[in-house]
């Protein structure tokens, strides 16, 4: 009974993690678009760095999906 509960909990955790990371990936795509749109309106010294950060964030969120699929 306890082992079944354990398995169920792990399965729930896995589903939560994978779904969560996928949703997070969509969010990071939107963030890239948002930074691009903002940078088009207002140009300043750090725009390039912010765009780079948004792409880095997108890459990490993709990596997180892969990690969740592989590790869990």
């Amino acid at each position: 009974m306890i082992s079944q509960l354990n398995t169920l909990m792990l399965l729930a955790g896995k589903i939560f993690a994978i779904l969560g990371t996928i949703i997070y990936f969509i969010f990071s795509v939107v963030m890239v678009k948002q930074v691009a749109a903002m940078s088009q309106n207002v140009h300043d010294k750090f725009n390039g760095i912010l765009i780079a950060f948004s792409y880095l964030h997108l890459a990490f969120s993709l990596l997180l999906i892969l990690l969740a699929v592989i590790l869990l």
Binding site: M9, L10, G13, K14, A17, G20, T21, Y24, F27, S28, V30, M31, Q34, V35, A37, M38, Q40, N41, V42, H43, D44, K45, F46, L50, F53, S54, H57, F60, S61, L64, L67, A68, L71, L72
Partner: protein, 256 residues
Amino acid sequence: MPRSKDLDTIAPDDPITPSPVETAVTINSSSPIKKKKKKILSAEVPPSVEPNKSANMKFRQKIYEMIDGKTAHSLSAFLARPKVFTFDTRDDEEEIILVLRRHWFTNVHWILLFIFMLLAPALLSFVPLLNFFPVRYQTVFILFWYMITFAIAFEHFLSWYFNVFIITEERVIDVDFYNMLSKKFSEAKISMIQDVTSTQGGVSQTVFNYGTILIQTAAEIPVIKIELIPNPALVIKVLQQMRGEEEQETLEGRIK
């Protein structure tokens, strides 16, 4: 050769040679007139332009004296005559006088939240919430947590960095990004500004000298609200000078 005095009776092919007397008259008479005209031009035009220019320069010079040296660094909330900063609807020759962001103190709450969220996984050793899960699960959850932490901080920074209020020599512009996908762009000509009000309340606003400015305009957008900007009194003074300059231009009929 006898010449007809009546020019209407001259045939088209008839050669016209000006008499020596006439040429002498034209040469002698034309040059003084031209000189006189030039003299009049040179005497009249500069007085009508130079005092006006100098009057406008006085306004502008006063503004420069007020704001110069107030910018600490390029990530400042108060950018005076920025060199790098620009925006998409800017005209080629439009000079940016001031760029304002929210005061740095308004960022303290999310910076504290960011630090707390960074340190939160360390608390897991005291409160074993994830011990039920295997280590690989815990690793993914903690990585996910850090990603969310970064995203929250990044979103707050973007909101601070891109929500700007711009004063140019011609207009005031308020650019607001409310959330990830909605944007508001308000603009009013300086000549359309009717009334400027500032409010400062609370301990932090009094101590750190920041507040909110309400600009009432005769333009399509009746009120432009600029929230929590540094040094509101100085901004109001700058706007007053700009309005003075604009009124001067209107009096001279030099409206762009």
